[in-house]
Amino acid sequence: MKAEPVFRPAPACRALIGGVGYRWLRDASFGAVASDALAREEWPPGVEVADLGYGALYVAQDLAHADPPYTRLILIAGVERGREPGRIYMSRWDEPLPDAEEIQERIREAGGGVIDLDHLLIVSRYFDALPEEVCLIELEPADTTPGEALSPQAQPLLDEARALARSLALAH
């Protein structure tokens, strides 16, 4: 018996969880490690997981071309911002754009292959590619030396980051 095709309406909320950063740099690679783990989990329709460590210009292009557009973007990264290391910091990103010179410099760096969470946010916003809701799950790294494993401080936080990403992605 031939099954009847099932047409599902596009989910009202389309969320993207993305890891940002280089690989093999321990805690600086927290975003890539987290998104790899999240990609192996089961997700309902309307939630996608991706490694967004491929350059702000290109991520911005992909966000802008998403059809239907994403309504929520959850970014995970290990970022040094001078906070207490070995902790997770969650925030909503709604910053104004910097001046034109800084935007141009960030586009230039992104085009030159630099992977950076702030480049992704600013370049994407400049090209009007960010969804309305942008949430950041950041690890303040304890160790950014070369290596595949996270630091002993960061490793236990991986589950916390995954849980946070899940709850943000599924929240109404």
């Binding site: 290109y58 292009q61 034109a100 230039r108 760096e109 085009g111 630099v114 950014t144």
Partner: protein, 622 residues
Amino acid sequence: MCFQNLPIEFDEQGNPYLKGGVTDPYAYQTREIDRSQVEELLKRNGHVKEMSLDPVTRVAGALAFHSVVDLEKRKVYEANSVASLFRGYEVILKGRDPRDAMFISSRVCGVCGGVHSVASSLAIEMAFGITPPPMGLALRNIQLGLDFCLDNPLHLYVLAGPDYSQIVVERTNPALWEKAKKTECRYTDIHGFKTMAELMEAFNPLTGKLYIQGIHATRVPREAYSLLFGKYPHPQTVVPGGLSSTVTLRELNETHNRIIRTIDFAKMGVFIWEEITAFFYEADPKYKEVGTRPMNFMDSGIWDDPYNYDGTYESAPEWGERRWGTPGIVIDGKLVTTNLHHINMGLEEFVEHSFYESWENEGIRYETDPSGNPISPHHPWNKETKPKPTQKRSWKERYTWDTAPRWDRHVMEAGTYARMWITAAAKKLPHTRFLESTGHSLKMHTPKTLLPPMELEWKIPEVWNAFERNLNRAYHIVYCQLVALDNLYIAFELMKQGKTKTATPYEVPQDERIGVGFWGAGRGWLTHHLVMDKGALVDYQIITPSTINASPKDPWGHGGAYEEAVVNTPILEEYDKPEEFTGIDIFRAIRSFDPCMPCTTHIHSDTHVVTREVNTCACGIV
């Protein structure tokens, strides 16, 4: 006789041998760098200034530049190119399983990782003794044509383009800007800009039409690249023996659609850069000297013939000349060889002015290549990467993390133009569906897209400078699209014949093997040389185009290509006071090479790794 400096001669059958009666054939005397005149000028004349561009912006990665400029005589006396970060990949790869190499070496560059994956796979295939099937080769060619269709527009419109924008020209050369307002464009019917001023406005960063279009132009080739390579910029499917992905008619059709969609912007780009070049030459013929240097080019060739390639070192001269990009060496504008053995034999790398130790005192690994041709102790198969950071950068001693690759001890240049120059001059291009090598030009027969079909012809230029480099890059995008399209038709044909196999299985040999991947990047020459034994890499050496172009002085005191180009650049900028000087002519000269230094973006110190550009020499953080 292609060698003028190395002691290599050829017998009647054309077999090379080392000249007899020479005790130490590759020995050389280093020449001390004499800066006394420059130091005297700096001391005595207020108008002679040291200019440190650190970092050089709008290039990919960590490049700094030091020069001594006479603002009164409008001359550059001295130039030093500085790769300010250490490229540690050669060290990282040592001791690893060779099957890791294409994934790790891809990370050498955040822009063109795929070219490293392929160069690495080629080196491994040669060492393993395997050859990818025709479909695997055709797909690699398609993707690595498309990669450059992403890379080159980014340079032309985002990195170099702003040097020719209204914002820059109006500030640095007001008279030129006035002329631009009155100069009508020659190709308005194609690109739509009525005057040169209008065209220059389109180059303005962030707001200019061409700047924005240049960014958008990168998306479609990236989509096509990801279709077969899994992801950009670090492919997941390039493996020794071919590609790990399967291919169906759907992927080929989707790729076809995307190649066609990129052609119009590329066609238009040729006319945009023809306009820029003609305008500056006409405004002041001295612009022909901006970034000029001897016409010495090297290219290792790229895009293998899927039906005529066995990947062995022994047959390299034959399969090399079947490539869509003919390998070769040009000295003083004359093509001296297209033979990959000769190209490889003449290659040496020197570290007298770099932050590395020499390696010769540990014994030389190989005196000949696998075909019995002589190679130097400074050849990549003999070289060891031995970083030696020093606390102080000195223009007389050591000042960069780059090395000085030379061919037959000549200062060389790599680039898209080297690839096209050699292919045009050699007249050996066997693939004539869209391309024709005439001996003095490369004709490109482009299909009809939204713009009509066109026969574009890149002619070997009479002069060599910054403008010709950029102009060539515009033609190179079209060239790459046609190579990709030609290979796509081959892939369709292979599919029709049921030859869809994309990879050849292999086993990792346990005995001592060597291999080299002769390939090319968006900026030209790319080689990966490896030595392996007991299933692990013993040595791994990478020479990128920027290793060649950004090189420091060699043992004989000859500066690298950037350094030569800057020293030869006249200062044409308008300024009344020294503080108004921006150095735009120097910037145009350097950026015209499309410097790509991301290979230096990971620096290892005892305590941490820097993953982005830094403003000081790397030795400062060791």
